[in-house]
């Protein structure tokens, strides 16, 4: 009995600690200022979002996000880098619908672009709008002919540019329904410093002149295909300190150097995006450097023991 009482007391104290927890507020929408000469970013917030969190609205801070949570879904802002993500709950009728948008992708692109520009993404920074398409099907596996997948709707993605230079890792996308409501969105549009913006301009200029281009390319590894000047920055998923740089991005195709090592069926090749800064130095983005130390568990069972004894 005493043990039960002690447990209940501990449980009550724990609950009271939960209730006293103070939760930070997610930020409001607005421009993210840069240094002088740089390029402003955009912070997305629930105040300008067309996402509905539903009833029982409350604020929570968990898993690195500050959130507004409701019966229909959650609007969350990454406390580290400002990434804004809104996601409908799986059990919401809106999430379970297999057809939520009946227009075409071009119409959806325009609606989403207007929405984000209206919310505060600078129009001159919108480099393009592209749609991804959602489809679904269900059937018995023996059913022939197989039922054709049906289109449920689209996601429209805004790509970013500063001047004529693409800012590859900035993304704003949304999935909207026929009622103009946002079902899911993801916005990461950080400010870009004056140095990075200027470096990108200098790289474009440098690569437009034959002599300068030759002098630059000789600093790179040999036999690379032609590249493109872009601005790269930390991914929305990175928890590392923010990095951005002007880059000459090259898409390199690699095949196995020795065809005899290509065992197994079919041949393989890989395409790898390599980044070179204004000095010709190869760079890796924080998300490309992410690596944990050591395997886990630290030792693996030897194959003799792994083999089935049958």
């Amino acid at each position: 009995m005493i043990r039960i009482s002690a447990f209940l007391l501990a449980f009550a104290l724990l609950l009271s600690a939960c209730w006293r927890t103070k939760v930070p507020h997610p930020p409001a929408s607005g421009a993210i200022a840069s240094d002088p000469g740089g390029t402003a970013g955009y912070q997305h917030g629930l105040d300008r979002s067309k996402f509905t969190v539903g009833a029982n609205r409350h604020e929570v801070s968990e898993f690195g996000f500050v959130k507004v949570v409701g019966s229909e879904g959650t609007f969350a802002v990454d406390a580290n880098n400002g990434l804004a993500v809104a996601i409908t709950n799986a059990n919401s009728p809106r999430a379970k619908s297999t057809r939520w948008y009946t227009g075409d992708s071009t119409q959806h692109n325009q609606i989403v672009k207007d929405y984000f520009v209206g919310a505060g993404i600078p129009k001159e920074q919108v480099g393009g709008v592209h749609a991804t398409m959602s489809l679904s099907t269900s059937a018995n596996g023996e059913q022939l002919p197989r039922p054709q997948p049906g289109v449920g709707g689209y996601q429209s993605i805004l790509d970013r540019k500063i001047g004529e230079v693409p800012v590859v890792d900035s993304v704003a996308w949304a999935r909207m329904n026929d009622a103009g409501e946002v079902l899911t969105e993801w916005v990461y549009w950080p400010a870009i410093s004056a140095k990075v913006t200027a470096d990108a301009g200098r790289m474009r200029e440098l690569l437009s002149k034959d002599a300068d281009k030759k002098a630059y390319l000789v600093k790179l590894p040999p036999n690379l295909p032609a590249g493109t000047v872009v601005i790269r920055h930390s991914s929305a998923t990175s928890a590392q300190p923010f990095e951005a740089f002007a880059s000459y991005d090259v898409l390199e195709r690699r095949t196995s150097p020795d065809a005899s090592t290509e065992q197994g069926p079919g041949s393989r090749a890989v395409l790898i995006v390599r980044h070179f800064d204004i000095n010709g130095e190869e760079r890796k983005l924080p998300q490309e450097r992410a690596q944990l130390a050591g395997d886990y568990p630290s030792t693996k069972r030897q194959p003799e023991a792994k083999r089935p004894q049958k």
């Binding site: 724990l14 609950l15 927890t21 103070k22 930070p24 930020p27 993210i32 240094d35 970013g41 912070q43 898993f63 690195g64 996000f65 500050v66 959130k67 969350a76 993500v85 709950n89 799986a90 059990n91 075409d104 992708s105 991804t132 398409m133 489809l135 099907t137 269900s138 018995n140 596996g141 022939l144 002919p145 997948p149 790509d159 693409p166 993304v171 996308w173 899911t184 410093s193 929305a236 998923t237 990175s238 923010f242 196995s256 150097p257 090592t261 065992q263 197994g264 393989r268 395409l271 790898i272 995006v273 450097r289 690596q291 944990l292 395997d295 693996k300 030897q302 194959p303 083999r307 089935p308």
Partner: protein, 358 residues
């Protein structure tokens, strides 16, 4: 600049201790009322293909580790049980010794009991099964090249890059380059000794005992599925697992990007009540355009659920992340399927078919 961004979040640091307490309370409360849950993470990542099945990759380990980091933030209900990389990833990790071929050790690795999510990132084989025979209907595709490993059924397949032509069913396979590979680094999940998710709650209907347990498999590889064989490609491996997510290629190949896994994890962290299947699909839209949204060319993120009834597969496709941990949801069969895709291109308004002329 980020300084400005982070200044908006200084309040998080100010209330740091409270922020830590809240998720801890939530986790304890959840643990009080539940049983039969799996929360383990198994991640196997291969960059180094120096032994076989090359060329080597550069982003798989960062990709797998990004997933781990994102899923194991403070207060997370998930726990890492296995991380193997490079030469420590063996083809036997994925194979079930209780199948007829009696090879493998998946119960200690990729399909370890108590696992919620098993994530492999590395190479896949892209044998397409396509002929040069042009077509206007699938019923015309009846002559597979058996010598090349093709077999029926056929499909009159097209893509943004290819005019309609007859293609046939071929096995789908992941590739390893392990120090102790037993099958040349070939993991044939279409017809090989692979069964995932068999458990005491799923039952032993897949004839692979009940000693597995993963609830979600992600195959972040080349050509995980080719259209339109989503059911045929995965039925063999679906032995209790709730869902299998991978990439479907429609002209081109999977890009070996560093942050697909991390983007998937962010979806969970942002809303644990969100849909797992939708989260995998939405990682596509979160990736940079210049890297094809994770695909060089045209293709889709795909999630497939299998179970014994239409109602059951629809339930799985709508699972939240907490539903995913519930072993009572393990599949009791694989005769029905539900599949969802998100593709990096859109059909024109007049197109009625996605990948196949029926």
């Amino acid at each position: 600049m980020p300084g400005k961004v982070s200044s908006k979040f200084t309040i998080v640091k100010r209330f740091g201790s409270s922020v830590i307490i809240a998720p801890a309370c939530l986790t304890i409360l959840m643990m009080c009322g539940c049983g039969g849950t799996s929360n383990g993470l198994v991640v196997e990542s291969v960059n180094n293909y120096s032994l076989r099945n090359g060329p080597s990759l550069s982003n798989s380990v960062a990709n797998g580790d990004g997933f781990i980091k994102g899923m194991t933030v403070a207060g997370s209900p998930w726990s890492l049980t296995t991380r193997w990389t490079d030469l420590n990833v063996w083809d036997t990790d994925f194979m079930d010794p209780d199948t007829r071929q009696a090879i493998g050790d998946d119960g200690a690795n990729f399909d370890k009991p108590g696992t919620a999510i098993s994530y492999f990132t590395g190479h896949g084989f892209c044998t397409a099964g396509c002929s040069s025979q042009s077509c206007t209907t699938t019923s015309a595709c009846t002559t597979p090249n058996a010598a090349a490993g093709d077999r029926l059924p056929g499909t009159c397949r097209f893509s943004p890059l290819d005019k309609p032509r007859c293609c046939y069913m071929t096995d789908r396979m992941a590739a390893t380059s392990g120090q102790f590979d037993a099958n040349n680094g070939v993991v044939n999940y279409t017809s090989g000794p692979v069964r995932w998710g068999e458990s005491s709650t799923s039952g032993g209907w897949a004839q692979a005992d009940t000693n597995g347990g993963t609830n979600l498999v992600i195959l972040d590889i080349s050509c995980g599925i080719l259209p339109t064989f989503w059911y045929e490609a995965l039925r063999n491996a679906a032995a209790g697992v709730h869902m299998i997510g991978t990439l479907l290629i429609a002209g081109g190949d999977t890009a070996n990007v560093s942050d697909r896994g991390a983007a998937f994890a962010k979806m969970w962290a942002a809303n644990p009540e969100g849909s797992v299947s939708q989260a995998w699909l939405d990682t596509m839209s979160a990736l940079p355009l210049s890297e094809g949204r994770g695909i060089n060319g045209y293709g889709c993120n795909i999630m497939v659920a299998m179970d014994g009834s239409l109602q059951a597969v629809d339930q799985k496709m709508n699972e939240s992340w907490s539903d995913l941990r519930n072993d009572n949801n393990d599949s009791k069969g694989n005769s029905w399927y539900s599949a969802r895709w998100q593709c990096n291109y859109a059909l024109s308004a007049t197109d009625k078919f996605a990948w196949e002329l029926p």
